[in-house]
């Protein structure tokens, strides 16, 4: 085989690999990228059950309840405009508490409850989930403020 042909084959293989990779990445991103929703986005845009998303907001005061098994919790997430019920089975982060910010990873079930598979809470002042930056909770009025 001539060197020229060989180079052509290699270049073609590289091109096929490149295009294939790009297509693969695009289709995988379309299916697997988890979009961030605040409760109000859920209400206005709607999210189909089973679609992996990240839900972010504040845990409503007085909404946190523990199930009898000791490892499942139920709570409501709000952004001040809408409220969404959520539940989580596992060990919640230490700074996960009522009136505090949370980003929950998971999907809605058919009943409209957000089934979280992972909870990210504000770790401390320096390590805060990026999505919660600019959100704050007013202790007196129980309103959430969002400045962006």
């Amino acid at each position: 085989m001539k060197a020229k042909h060989q180079r052509l084959i290699l270049a073609l293989a590289a091109l096929v690999a490149l295009v294939g990779a790009a297509l693969l990445a695009m289709s995988a991103l379309k299916d697997e990228a988890a979009y961030f929703y605040a409760p109000n986005d859920v209400r206005t845009k709607g999210v189909e059950p089973g679609k992996a998303i990240r839900l972010g907001g504040m845990v409503v005061k007085g909404s946190l309840k523990r199930a009898g098994d000791g490892v499942t919790i139920h709570f409501d997430v709000t952004d001040g405009k809408a409220t969404v019920p959520a539940s989580f089975r596992g060990i919640a982060p230490d700074l996960f508490r009522e009136g505090s910010g949370v980003v929950a990873e998971g999907a809605f079930d058919a009943g409209g409850t957000f089934q979280a598979t992972n909870l990210l809470a504000k770790h401390d002042e320096r390590y805060m989930p990026r999505e919660l930056k600019g959100m704050s909770y007013d202790e007196k009025t129980h309103k959430m403020k969002v400045d962006r």
Partner: protein, 645 residues
């Protein structure tokens, strides 16, 4: 005084880097040998000065000098000395100084020990190294001075992020940095060779040990980081596809591809332009990683400071170096002569396949890592996590593993398909056997990827030792052993990953002291829960007894509270057995008297890191084997010369 001396050493080192660049540039352009003669001593002095500056910063941390801003914001006088020491690089400024130090010391090493390279290329390489260093000196001196003072000095420091207070901090970042920055040497080699138009087998043989060295350290750093995250976070996982993890994986992927293509260039003088390109890409990935981690656009334990100015600075450096190198490549690639030809069925082709697949994985990881940043620019907040990366990287990585069996069993230049197929028979048969066994025993109970992973792991394990078949083992060169061990390490690691995702048993319960939990053949008795105190923390510690038929073993999972900064961390209890690990995490108090416990039995999970260690060991064997052979040849030549005289 110490802080001022450190800053002075840094400025001096930066000026020497500038001098080094100018000497090399004018020396090469004007063909002035006396200028070029000064390049090496200047490079050595520059490396020495950065090392001094770094040693001075360590001294400040060890002395807990609270008049230095960096010590105040990242240390505390009550900390154990190991974390004062390692805390030097557990922050933005300190880690950038470590970066510059490694770069300077690597430059010194190239100046002192590199003998195989032609003189002009050697000088151009040192000039290139100085040019990269200069940018990072500027970043350090203008945007992240580690020696800045604070006035008045506070009574004590703010402490180190408790997640970082672990012996892992002493080992993982320096190793990874040595690897990251070691790739800058490969980058400078490529730039030097493009400038002098000397891209050939001799150049590749000179570059190979540096690439190998950087790659070994990257492998060790990633393996150590993975184990650290596994036991420290208490989430039971060993890889989270966190952007920061990807930032270390991408240079490793590029370096792995480079390692194989540089071998093609050294042995067969083929793939010239491609190897140079990969050397540029590998270090570019190191810089992209640094940009992602240090610019503050990502939030994680690794992102120390959110400062847009720094992000812009690193982005500018990134643009200058990557853009400059690519422009140089485009300009000079025409001058790189065509390499030696090879047939389609040959080891060269297999290594091209290796390179293509590694590049594809690299591209997909890069896209997945950058995608959230790109969409955020358009107002959408998106996260790309494990589902994306598992789906795309999994199948391609498995294909790559199959190619890994083929490569070493194919001859250089030309081979016959029938012969290759014959050599593949035993590995494929072993894989087939595992397939049948798993199909009978566990069909439908484990996922597709772990299933194929186990099948391919065994085929690769057998295939990787196949090159030793019918060889005199005592006369097999050390670097061939290195290849065998490294490929075997990949199989071992893959087997660990597949076992972990296929057979892990998880149990999540709320239990009272006195209760017994049964899972995966283990009986775990929860005896009591007690408060205890450590150096700079207090903890709640559970006392448990785990047994599997034999003598019970004590386990002590903890939940630790640190006062400065106020944080809680989980200290999982690990019990290692030959066939797996028991992993117990103490959660929160569920309700009156009940505590959350999360227990995993992870069969053969330790193989993941053992495999990583084998891969690095194989690299080390190849490095020593090649270099020793070089010395032996030289020594014999000298002996022969003396005998003639």
């Amino acid at each position: 005084m110490i802080a001022e001396a450190g800053l002075a050493a840094l400025w001096l080192a930066a000026s020497l880097a500038l001098l080094q660049l100018l000497l090399a540039a004018f020396g090469l352009a004007g063909g002035k040998s006396e200028l070029l003669g000064a390049v090496r001593p200047v490079a050595v002095a520059q490396g020495l000065l950065t090392a001094i500056a770094f040693a001075l910063l360590i001294t400040l941390f060890l002395q807990s000098d609270m008049s230095v801003l960096l010590v105040v914001t990242n240390s505390h006088s009550m900390k154990p000395w190991l974390y004062k020491f390692a805390g030097t690089w557990g922050n933005h400024e300190g880690s950038m100084l470590l970066w510059v130090t490694v770069m300077g010391v690597a430059g010194s090493a190239v100046a002192l020990f590199e003998r195989a390279l032609r003189r002009e290329t050697h000088m151009a390489t040192l000039g290139g190294q100085a040019a990269i260093s200069l940018g990072f000196y500027a970043f350090l001196l203008f945007a992240s001075n580690p020696f800045a003072r604070i006035d008045p000095p506070p009574a004590d420091g703010q402490g180190l992020n408790p997640l970082l207070q672990d012996p892992g901090l002493a080992f993982h970042p320096p190793t990874l940095y040595l690897g990251y920055v070691g790739l800058s040497v490969a980058f400078s080699f490529a730039v030097g060779a493009l400038l002098t138009r000397q891209v050939d087998a001799a150049f590749a043989r000179a570059m190979r040990p540096w690439v190998l060295g950087a790659w070994i350290l990257l492998t060790l750093g990633i393996t150590a980081g993975s184990y650290w995250a596994y036991y420290e976070l208490g989430w039971g996982g060993w890889w989270f596809w966190d952007p920061v993890e990807n930032a270390s994986l991408m240079p490793w992927l590029a370096a792995t591809a480079l390692l194989h293509s540089v071998t093609v260039l050294a042995t067969r003088d083929a793939l010239r332009a491609w190897t140079v390109m990969l050397a540029v890409v590998a270090f570019s990935m190191s810089m992209v990683g640094t940009f992602l981690v240090r610019s503050g656009i990502l939030t994680s334990v690794h992102a120390f400071a959110v400062d847009p100015e720094r992000g812009t600075f690193i982005l500018a450096l990134l643009g200058i170096y990557i853009g400059g190198a690519l422009a140089l490549f485009g300009w000079r690639v025409g001058a790189v002569r065509e390499g030696a030809p090879f047939e389609l069925v040959s080891r060269e082709t297999m290594l091209v396949v290796n390179n293509l697949l590694l590049s594809v994985i690299l591209g997909l990881v890069l896209i997945g890592t950058l995608y959230p940043l790109m969409t955020e620019a358009f107002g959408h907040k998106v996260s790309v996590g494990a589902p994306y990366f598992d789906r795309i990287a999994g199948p391609i990585a498995l294909t790559l593993m199959v190619a890994m069996i083929l490569g070493p069993l194919t001859r250089w230049r030309r081979d016959r398909m029938r012969e290759v197929t014959r050599r593949m028979a035993i590995p494929l048969a072993m894989g087939g056997l595992v397939f049948v066994l798993l199909a009978v025993l566990a069909w439908g109970r484990i996922g597709v990827l772990p299933f194929l992973g186990l099948v391919i792991a065994l085929a690769v394990a057998v295939g990787s030792v196949a090159p030793l078949w019918k060889r005199n083992l005592r006369r097999t060169p050390l670097f061939t052993w290195g290849m065998v061990i490294a490929h075997l390490g990949c199989a071992v690691s893959l087997a660990g990953m597949a076992c972990d995702s296929a057979f892990t048993v998880e149990k999540l319960v709320a239990a009272r002291p006195g209760d017994t939990v049964e899972t995966a053949g283990w009986t775990i008795r929860f005896k009591q829960i007690l408060p205890i105190a450590g150096d700079n923390w207090t903890a709640l510690q559970a006392d448990m007894e785990a047994s599997r038929g034999g003598e019970p073993v004590l386990l002590h999972p903890q939940s630790r509270f640190f006062a400065s900064p106020p944080t809680t961390t989980t200290e999982a209890a690990l019990l290692t057995r030959w066939n797996g690990q028991l992993y117990v995490v103490l959660g929160q108090e569920a309700d009156a008297g009940r505590w959350q416990l999360r227990i995993w039995w992870k069969p053969f999970v330790t193989l993941i890191w053992f495999g990583g260690f084998l891969i690095a060991l194989g690299g080390a064997m190849a490095l020593v084997g090649r270099e020793r052979r070089g010395w032996l040849l030289k020594w014999r030549a000298r002996m022969a010369m003396e005998a003639v005289a």
